[in-house]
């Protein structure tokens, strides 16, 4: 055990954790909006809109995240037309490519989580709202969405942890996030176990925080 390496690599890895957290928070924020949008499309009665939303979530849940990142980072740059538009400013940056890929990926999972939450809301609750003379729009925003969010908290907590692990793939498109820096230190020192313990410890600590945060929210917003 090389404790000196563990101590000297800790600040470097901690600095890289900031990149990981930035990627995670940006993709979760956009992913939640996208997921909510597609979940609403999924409960739409129009079969085409419905199938479109299902297709989106099926494709992004059925393929590895690595393929999605590579298509966006390496693939989209190949289209000549894109290079001439303002989109190229975003797409040439690996940072934004990673965020786009993560957003699309977590959006697909989130839409499934929210959809099942919407569908488990008891019809009686909506009927009660209607009989009180509340408009459909208000029922949706003030009754259905809050209940759906509470219902989906446990599953969404898992998704946050999965996404946190997913951000490690940013290292494959040259971003120096926690895993990227860990790999760099391993490949220069050839001491995989020490670096794994430190980097893995940081990841576990983040998992622990997220897990407890979700537990706290679940308790706070429980019906009982």
């Amino acid at each position: 055990m090389d404790f000196d390496l563990m101590i000297t690599s800790f600040p470097k890895l901690l600095a890289a954790t900031v990149v990981t957290l930035k990627l995670l928070s940006a993709s979760l924020f956009f992913g939640l909006l996208l997921g909510l949008f597609f979940a609403i499309l999924r409960i739409n009665k129009n079969i085409f809109i419905n199938k479109f939303a299902y297709g989106y979530s099926y494709v992004f849940r059925g393929t590895p995240l690595l393929v999605q990142i590579f298509i966006i980072y390496f693939g989209l740059g190949q289209i000549e037309y894109l290079r001439t538009t303002f989109l190229w400013v975003i797409l040439k940056e690996p940072y934004w490519c990673a965020i786009i890929a993560f957003t699309l990926n977590t959006g697909a999972y989130t839409s499934e989580i929210l959809r099942s939450a919407f569908q488990t809301i008891k019809p009686g609750i909506i009927e009660a709202g209607k009989s009180l003379g509340i408009s459909n729009k208000i029922i949706f925003y003030k009754i259905q969405i809050p209940i759906a969010i509470r219902q989906s908290l446990p599953a969404y907590g898992n998704e946050i942890i999965l996404m946190m692990k997913g951000t490690s793939l940013a290292s494959t498109v040259t971003l120096m996030d926690l895993t990227g820096v860990a790999k760099y230190i391993i490949s220069t020192t050839f001491k995989p176990i020490e670096v794994f313990i430190v980097a893995g410890g940081i990841y576990l600590f983040m998992t622990f925080i997220i897990h407890n945060l979700i537990k706290f929210l679940e308790k706070k917003y429980s019906f009982q």
């Binding site: 099926y58 393929v67 590579f70 298509i71 860990a182 490949s187 990841y203």
Partner: protein, 230 residues
Amino acid sequence: MELLAFGKTGWGDELFYATLMTIAVSITAMLVGFVFALIFTPLKISKYKTLNLVGNFYTTVIRGVPELLVIYLFFFGGSGAIMYVASIFGYYEYIEINAFITGSMAIGIISGAYSTEVFRGAIQSIDKGQFEAAKVLGINKFGQFYKIILPQMLRLAIPNLSNVWQITLKDTSLISVTGLVEIMRQSYVAAGSTRDPLFFYSFAAVLYLLLTYISMKLINKLEVRYSRGY
């Protein structure tokens, strides 16, 4: 389309073999995972606190750390660890481990953590009376587990194991960083030499979609088979 031709002119045959490699790694990793699950599930449901701790440590660490980091640990640390063990037995030559073995071990350990959770959940949801009845009938511990508990457990575990299979299948794409030629690696090579990454990565996505679709259909059949009588 000529990019996908078989033979020397296209990448069709290479991608076909790469797909077979992905399937082979996934199945091996899943089986390695079952072995780990068979070791760690009893630890997690054991009466002894220390054994619980060991089981929980395994599942918590593996499920809380990115797959890529675990793969790097195995890729860079695998041959070192084997050489260390070999040196205890007096063998000092350089040993290189095959990328297939490293990859399926790394993915297997990850998949094992998920399988362990699935099996634990399945065992705990079996009615207590089943255990007691088996005991009363004088069936030994071995028979209790293999003849009474396991068949009931499998039925409950299959839907969740199908999720584990999907995760494992998708995780194998990460082994491409170690140079094992599976779908992702082959697409990377093809994309590099033809300068057509969009086509090859999209094709890789289609291959993965096909694999997940077909395996879903097969698992659904299995599910029906194991639910006979319910």
